[in-house]
Symmetry: C2
Subunit: 335 residues, 2 copies
């Protein structure tokens, strides 16, 4: 008896090869009724998948994509290095795509992946992204996706992040311990979960310390072009904060420059702490206290998870959650 | 009369469609004799290329590749932004590939492009690369290539760089003006033309000032893992330099940290200048004098040139040279 292949199943059921293939992969595109018909016949004829064809189908590109908002941030450079370490051991190429913090770019990039250009996607979403349709489409095409660092709450997918809530809490508690009574948090997004979780942690610490909420506690720096002016305005306001938490690396330079220009001494007049992996943190004037994210490790863990999903289609990637804690490194800016 | 297409030419000459196509594009793979036969018949039958097919063939990927040694460097982040500005206006995707300073990676990456995955390549070579076979193969496949920042002397291709010799000269002259008598240059490669040109400029300025050459004037920091120890050793040597030129951004942090640890005051005991686009340069302790490369502009110019090559096959890209000068920004580290 000749070997039963997908073509034979297709001929006998008067369906296309592609439909049979999708039914066997349990694709959402195929009705339950058709799936049952295909599986019944496959069992009856003792159909065994061709492992070579399957591997060709599954691993044809030997490439994974990393979608990032930007590369200027040292965090993402380190994360890329972590990802590459794993990809190299697997013999995979890594392609880097930049969304430049725009949802529209991110959407176009992800649409391109549906054609099978890459075998899996690691993504850190743009600060604008607040929908998940584009991610769901990848799932529907059986392309594994792992979020890292910046994720989205309302979607079921694997993710590797740091402990953002705890870090916001830790940053605020540190400022309070050092004597601040009116700390403020500088945020770059009103929708990005990492920002929101950090802010929640920040507010929880303030509440615990009995500091009442006020509208100047969270400062929005959502427009890069005007960050410097925005920060200067806050530093010149009547109710000037005595502590600042910079939610991302790129806020650090405008904060320091504004303080220098206004003759506000760090740490005497204002204490500064930043979420940053900045290599120059220890040589700044003054050296900067940081909440340092394990960027390299996050990249490594996210890539490891992605390859599990690429290599074993039975592995339920979507349920995976991994949290790698950040570390507070105290330097002079908060002493 | 039906329209004459490539297929008709192929049938009449008993050649393959691909041979006709290559002959019409003046490919090196086709003999002069065959090219003449094809062109003669094309003229005779009044063959007009189908612009749509031609556009499909020429622009099928709508993607350009940017091959970089790394992204941790702020220079490359800014250059990528410059490149994207142009690519966006052309409706092109930008893919970023990292060589991680390894020739072997660079070679594998470029081999992949030969299949037509991208329509053009912008490349800044790894610090290891000293051969050009991999670049020549792209040329042979009619894939336009533009070097930016880091190029290679012994190959004919378009390039956009900064004025490296003049910058080395300018950095050395600045240190001499500020009173240094024994400046040293910290290099990261013994083969990279940008390093060699900067060193030549440095030496030319020293020679002009009558400072004799010595073997400690050029310090090799080719192994990132040991840079800090290497720099400390130099700062503890008997004939300690009184001025340092950091050839790249990533040398800055180990230099500052080593000086802090050894209680060597910048700028009193040693003056420091760096080739860097470091955003934190003005907030370092002390603020860092930089030779700031026009990274964004270099990226923009290189992409503009590449698109000329992609859009007009008659444009002789290889002859293009563009030099965008860097600027010395004086800060306290050399005052």
């Amino acid at each position: 008896m000749s070997k039963v292949n997908i073509k034979a199943l297709a001929d006998q059921l008067h369906l296309s090869v592609s439909t049979i293939s999708k039914a066997l992969r349990d694709s959402y595109e195929i009705s339950e009724e058709t799936k049952k018909k295909v599986l019944d016949l496959a069992t009856e004829l003792n159909y065994v998948p061709n492992p070579y064809a399957s591997s060709l189908r599954k691993k044809k590109s030997k490439t994974i994509a990393v979608v990032l908002p930007e590369v200027a941030d040292n965090f993402f450079s380190l994360a890329i290095n972590g990802i590459q370490t794993i990809a190299e051991t697997k013999g995979y190429h890594v392609l880097i795509y930049l969304s430049h913090e725009k949802y529209s770019n991110e959407k176009v990039i992800l649409e391109e992946f549906q054609s099978g250009r890459v075998d899996g996607v690691l993504i850190s979403i743009s600060s604008e992204t607040n929908t998940s349709d584009h991610i769901n489409k990848l799932h529907a095409n059986n392309i594994p996706v792992v979020f890292f660092d910046r994720d989205q709450d309302n979607i079921e997918t694997a993710r590797v992040t740091t402990n953002d809530f705890e870090c916001g809490y830790m940053a605020a508690s540190h400022l309070l311990e050092k004597g601040c009574q009116n700390p403020a948090f500088i945020s770059i997004s009103k929708s990005l979960p990492i920002c929101l979780h950090r802010i929640e942690g920040f507010k929880a610490a303030l509440k615990e310390a009995g500091i009442p909420e006020n509208e100047n506690q969270v400062i929005d720096c959502t427009d890069e072009g005007s960050n410097y002016q925005q920060i200067k305005k806050i530093l010149q306001s009547e109710n000037r904060p005595d502590g600042l938490i910079a939610s991302v690396e790129k806020i650090v330079t405008p904060v320091y420059l504004a303080c220098h220009e206004l003759n506000i001494n760090i740490p005497r007049d204002i204490k500064v702490i930043a979420f940053a992996t900045l290599e120059t943190a220890p040589i700044l004037d003054p050296p900067l206290t940081t909440i340092t994210q394990p960027a390299f490790e996050i990249g490594k863990a996210a890539a490891t998870l992605l390859f599990k999903g690429i290599e074993k289609s039975t592995f339920d990637l979507k349920k995976e959650r991994m949290v790698i804690p950040s570390v507070l490194i105290m330097r002079k800016s908060t002493s």
